[in-house]
Amino acid sequence: MALRVLTRAMGSLSLTTPAVATLSSSLLPAAQVTSSTLLQLPSSSLLLLCRPVLTSVALSANFVSWKSRTKYTITPVKMRKSGGRNHTGRIQVHGIGGGHKQRYRMIDFLRFRPELEAKPGPFEEKVIVVRYDPCRSADIALVAGGSRKRWIIATENMQAGDIILNSDHIGRMAVAAREGDAHPLGALPVGTLVNNVESEPGRGAQYIRAAGSGNVHGNSRPGIQR
């Protein structure tokens, strides 16, 4: 709409006044038109007849997030870097930008996610390969269980061929924790090093995900883990 207003207003403007234009076209030949234009200056009344016009318009930021994929897959997904820019297009965080192109591997942070809703109990998975992930400091492991494969954050001594257990069961006795297994915090003995911790069951791991990180499980009251 702004463009339409602009063109209408531009159409109403002219280099010469209408009276001078008719005179020049009828009496003077084309070669002398230039001299007549220099003599005539646009008067202030003509300017008042024009609508005020914006000759520039701000560009809107066409920001569409690259995270459009709704279905989980293990193949790497192309991603777009932000460069520290937010949805308005301006820099919000300085110092970010450049670097090698990366493809995002969709990591499943909810360890206890049974493949079928019909079988809700603890289940095991096998580690297929542990590889470097360009998007994070930690390595990632491709694990397969049942008929599905997914990426998870790999722990320190995880190797191809390991079997890992994902469980949501809290028993009376604390579980003898093995490296790579996932248990509720209430089932783990005090003093185990944990990583990929979720604040509530079903939320997904949000804490202690970086390489080299690990926290000591210190709460000594079993059964009240939230």
């Binding site: 969709m106 049942g146 599905r148 069951p201």
Partner: protein, 433 residues
């Protein structure tokens, strides 16, 4: 309800996903893929008037323009009566005629099985034996089956495929791989004068195969067209004797817990259970002899790894054998008195894999009983390297290019081209059995 908003409202509406001994639902679920800004916007919700049963809401539909205070009209979806071919949508899966509730796991030519050969053996209820059977190896050693000037002719074949037949400097795998296989088969066909039974064969490409079988509560299917198939007028005789076949009853198939045997197979609910050998009833060459699989993709991630290629060969050979057995002996599940034998060759232009499969039984639902037999000869190189262009280091020619080498005398010590002729080539030759 009006006080709740956002995640809390979703939590109230939806029951907790996990019953963890009675603890409450999480305030937020795990991350859901797909940022909200890129998701399609939901349609606006219906007015509350529509929730009252028996009440006819007054809408602004008749007024042909919006009126505040009147309900938003709900129109039936418009059916224009015809669809443009460009914009036709497929019918939903549930309404398609071949839809079935039981899921079928289909193996096609692009499937890469996670466990490779182990998974293929479980799916086909087969026992693996390393190395080709003695009957086939005896054909290799028989001097009557050797071709005159065998080594030189194969060198010519390799040079032709990798260098001469194309005008490019370095022909791509899509070009040279089929040329190598075709030339080797042509070389074998040149022995028709010595072995007239070779004339009772024909090669067919672009055939479609479809077989279905049950395997321990899974419905499996092999489908698709992959490579060429050699058909004969006479069936291949059984390789393993009856005693060896009976001895396979004691063999236990390898499982790979916790991985399910149907991983990497395409699960679909729309399928047809019919068996299709790819050829009609009156075809003059009814028996399958050898299948040829070519890996012609130039990029390494697109090519199948040797393990995956062997698994694909096992499954397609098994599919052909099973379809043939069902056509000859009916679709009952039983142990076959005359086992069906199918051979298979897979290559990527340099490395060859050979396979002989003997189908002993069509009773595949249980894990006990007689098993099928598979002989595999894997990773046989036809040649080590082939450099079309010379290797130059510090302006000195270290290795001459293949073009210059071929014009000099044939020198067996050329480092890039060591030819391993015997074990690979003579197998490709269709045997005179």
């Amino acid at each position: 309800m009006a006080l709740a908003s956002g995640p809390a409202r979703r939590a109230l509406a939806r029951p907790g996903p996990l019953g963890l001994g009675g603890c409450g639902t999480p305030t937020r679920g795990a991350y859901e893929w797909g940022v909200r800004s890129t998701r399609k916007p939901e349609p606006p919700p219906l007015d509350r008037v529509y929730e009252i049963p028996g009440l006819e809401p007054i809408t602004y539909a008749g007024k042909m323009h919006f009126m505040p205070g009147l309900a938003r009209p709900v129109f039936p979806p418009w059916d224009p009566g015809w669809t443009h071919p460009k914009f036709r949508r497929p019918t939903p899966v549930h309404e398609q005629p071949l839809y079935k509730d039981r899921a079928c796991y289909v193996f096609h030519h692009r499937c890469r099985l996670l466990e490779g050969v182990k998974q293929a053996l479980w799916l086909t209820k087969a026992k693996l034996i390393e190395g080709l059977p003695k009957k086939v190896l005896s054909l290799v050693d028989d001097p009557k089956n050797h071709i005159e000037n065998q080594d030189e002719r194969i060198l010519n074949v390799i040079f032709h495929a990798r260098l001469w037949h194309s005008t490019e400097d370095t022909p791509k795998r899509e070009t040279y791989c089929p040329v190598i296989v075709d030339s080797l088969i042509q070389l074998c066909k040149s022995q028709i004068l010595k072995h007239p039974s070779l004339a009772r064969r024909i090669c067919a490409k672009n055939y479609t195969l479809s077989t279905t079988w049950n395997r321990e509560s899974f419905l499996l299917q092999v489908r698709g067209s992959s490579g060429a198939r050699l058909n004969t007028k006479d069936p291949l005789p059984a390789i393993a004797s009856k005693e060896e076949v009976e001895a396979t009853k004691n063999h236990v198939l390898e499982t790979f817990y916790p991985i399910s045997p149907t991983i990497d197979l395409q699960e679909c609910n729309v399928y047809d259970v019919k068996d299709n050998t790819g050829f009609q009833e009156g075809y003059p060459y009814p028996y399958p002899h050898t299948l040829y699989f070519l890996e012609t993709a130039s990029l390494r991630p697109h090519r199948l790894q040797p393990d995956h290629l062997r698994a694909k060969m096992i499954l397609f050979a098994f599919g052909n054998a099973l379809a043939q057995a069902r056509r000859l002996y009916g679709s009952d599940t039983k142990v076959l008195e005359q086992p069906v034998v199918v051979q298979s060759v897979g290559t990527d232009g340099r490395v060859f894999q050979f396979l002989v499969l003997q189908l002993n039984t069509t009773d595949l639902a249980s894990n006990e009983g007689v098993k099928n037999l598979v002989w595999v000869d894997s990773d046989q190189l036809l040649y080590q390297h082939f450099w079309c262009r010379p290797v130059i280091k510090k302006k000195v020619v270290v290795l001459p290019g293949a073009a210059s080498w071929s014009t000099r005398g044939r020198d067996w010590d050329y480092p890039g081209l060591r030819v391993y002729v015997k074990p690979t080539f003579v197998f490709i030759k269709p045997s005179s059995r």
